[in-house]
């Protein structure tokens, strides 16, 4: 007993400790039960409600013109938001992680603002800027440009709420990697872009992908901010989540849940991809 190896030690204590075993078999059901009620039950409810009027109505709800145009708008929004925020994320992470400058912590805090702002306020600021009574409202109206109650407003609000996702994933990785490899590339004669694409990018690719996955999930699912700026025009300015809301408020529950099940599948896919990336990075 006295000469026990410290690495084996943990196991020994665990198996000789009866109360610990008891707590284990008490705590596992409590934890899984809590997750079951709060996470699994709502997930099952979405699919069960979606299918309870039959598979034909399910597909009918997904293929009606308004649903299709909502899907299209959501895809367009994500297709613009993700590249824009990814490019920003890489630039910002590069500046913050590879260089020393004053006010770095303030900059990081400013980038985090969208996490602390209610989605409703994120929508509100763009109404105040571009709405008919907003700061640029009269100019936009005179030139017949519609941002609020239009697609540009939806995209702007989505960019706002998903702003920090990519930077936040890249920052810790790039900070940890330091600057040695990049310095070596530069001293060996690489130019800036060569250094970035051959040294930096391969090092951060999984982190980047992780950020993009999270950014995409939020971009496609954002409700509050988009709801404020969209104007809820059916077939024109409705994203998938807004379409779900309209159907639900019309008491068309099966159709609402059918469309919602698309988003639930997106969420599950996001979790699977996320776990895959985590597993990949752990292996490296």
């Amino acid at each position: 007993m006295i000469v026990r190896n410290t690495t084996l030690h943990a196991r020994n204590v665990k198996t000789t400790f009866r109360p610990e075993l008891l707590t284990k078999w008490l705590l596992i059901p409590v934890a899984t039960g809590f997750l079951g009620i709060f996470i699994v039950v709502p997930l099952i409810a979405v699919f069960s409600e979606a299918l309870n009027k039959g598979i034909q109505l399910y597909f009918a709800a997904l293929t009606e013109p308004d649903a299709l145009s909502a899907i299209k708008l959501t895809l367009i929004t994500a297709a613009i938001t993700i590249p824009v925020n990814t490019i920003f994320g890489v630039f910002a992470a590069w500046a913050i992680s590879k260089f020393e400058f004053r006010g770095k912590n303030i900059l990081i805090t400013l980038i985090d603002i969208p996490f602390a702002v209610s989605p409703v306020i994120a929508g509100l600021v763009f109404v105040l800027l571009f709405g008919s009574q907003g700061l640029f409202g009269p100019i936009l109206e005179a030139n017949n440009i519609k941002i609020i109650f239009g697609i540009p407003g939806i995209i702007l609000a989505t960019i706002f709420v998903t702003f920090p996702f990519v930077v936040r994933e890249l920052l810790p990785i790039m900070q940890e990697q330091g600057t040695e490899e990049e310095q070596a590339a530069i001293t060996l004669g690489a130019n800036g872009w060569q250094m970035f694409f051959r040294v930096t990018l391969p090092n951060i690719k999984w982190g980047l992908l992780y950020g993009v996955i999270l950014c995409n999930a939020r971009a496609m699912g954002e409700f509050g901010a988009v709801s404020v700026v969209s104007g809820h025009i059916r077939g024109l300015t409705n994203t998938i989540p807004l379409h779900v809301e309209i159907l639900y408020n019309e008491y068309n529950f099966s159709a609402a849940f059918a469309v919602a099940s698309l988003l639930a599948m997106l969420a599950l896919l996001t979790l699977i991809l996320k776990s895959f990336v985590e597993w990949k990075t752990k292996k490296h």
């Binding site: 709060f38 709502p42 910002a92 209610s118 800036g192 999270l214 988003l263």
Partner: protein, 278 residues
């Protein structure tokens, strides 16, 4: 430090990346937020005060803060418990459960909102049992708390989990061999080590809950004075074209959130510093 700075100058792209970052940050975040404060300042101070202290508005602050606080508190307890179970025990299906913890981050809030409302409605899967003992969940503050608990669930788990993983079990073993019982070990060794992480997770869940809209708006019932949250009130003002009023309430909420964010960052910076020293 001087050396490090010189070395960093070898790398290209500081001007470009920094310039781009600042311009983009200003255009998307800083200027729009500044306009919000500007709009709120277009009304007189007396008017501003009247708007933000109107009985209906005050009722919504109270409701939002207290439901958010309770939800974050529930998450602090169960989140810590879940993190503990995921780090310390091995059991069948653990990896799936670990992945599912992030569902509230991945599932759009509107979907969570309609699903929870359906489950907790008086005739819903879970709501019917509460109904039979005379408790209404959907369309009451209790329903709001459930939605906010769902939304905040991952925060505490994800901030406590890595700390528990890195915790050196030697101290627990030492305490056990010295005769400490499991409760003492938890209270004297484990809890002090993970408490900062619990508090960070709590604050993040709380901050998120304060601004949450999508998951709450379906289950809350939205009755003025009773189940109306602050974000909904902002939308109501907007729909009445009372832009300045909406901005005024938003400013109050923003300032509250910013103070909270600042406290979290300050707290993290302080605990990081403490760990670096020791």
């Amino acid at each position: 430090m001087a050396d490090k700075r010189k070395q960093h100058h070898v790398l290209p792209g500081f001007g470009l990346s920094m310039g781009y970052t600042l311009i983009y940050l200003s255009l998307i975040i800083l200027i729009p937020i500044a306009v919000l404060f500007l709009k709120a300042s277009t009304i007189s101070l007396a008017e501003f005060w009247e708007t933000v202290t109107e009985a209906r508005v005050v009722a919504s602050y109270k409701l939002t803060i207290y439901t958010s606080f309770i939800a974050a508190f529930v998450n602090a307890i169960f989140g810590t418990l879940i993190a503990w179970v995921l780090v310390r025990y091995d059991f069948y299906g653990k990896r799936i459960i670990d992945a599912l913890v992030d569902l509230p981050f991945a599932l759009p809030t509107a979907v969570a909102g309609i699903a929870l409302t359906t489950i907790y409605a008086p005739n819903g899967w879970i709501g019917q049992y509460f109904e039979s003992i005379g408790i209404k969940v959907a369309y009451t503050p209790l329903g709001i708390m459930i939605a906010l608990t769902f939304i905040g669930l991952p925060f505490v788990v994800r901030s406590v989990q890595p700390v528990l993983q890195d915790l050196d079990q030697q101290y627990e073993e030492a305490a056990a061999t010295l005769g400490a019982n499991p409760l003492q070990i938890f209270a004297k060794i484990i809890f002090p080590a993970i408490f900062p992480a619990i508090l960070t997770g709590f604050a993040l869940a709380f901050a998120r809950a304060l601004g949450e809209y999508g998951s709450v708006v379906f289950i809350s019932g939205n009755m003025p004075m009773k189940t109306e949250i602050v974000p909904l009130l902002i939308i109501t003002k907007l729909e009445q074209f009372n832009y300045a009023g909406a901005a005024a309430i938003a400013v109050v909420m923003l300032v509250f959130s910013f103070v909270l964010l600042f406290l979290i960052n300050f707290w993290q910076w302080k605990t990081n510093k403490k760990y670096q020293v020791s």
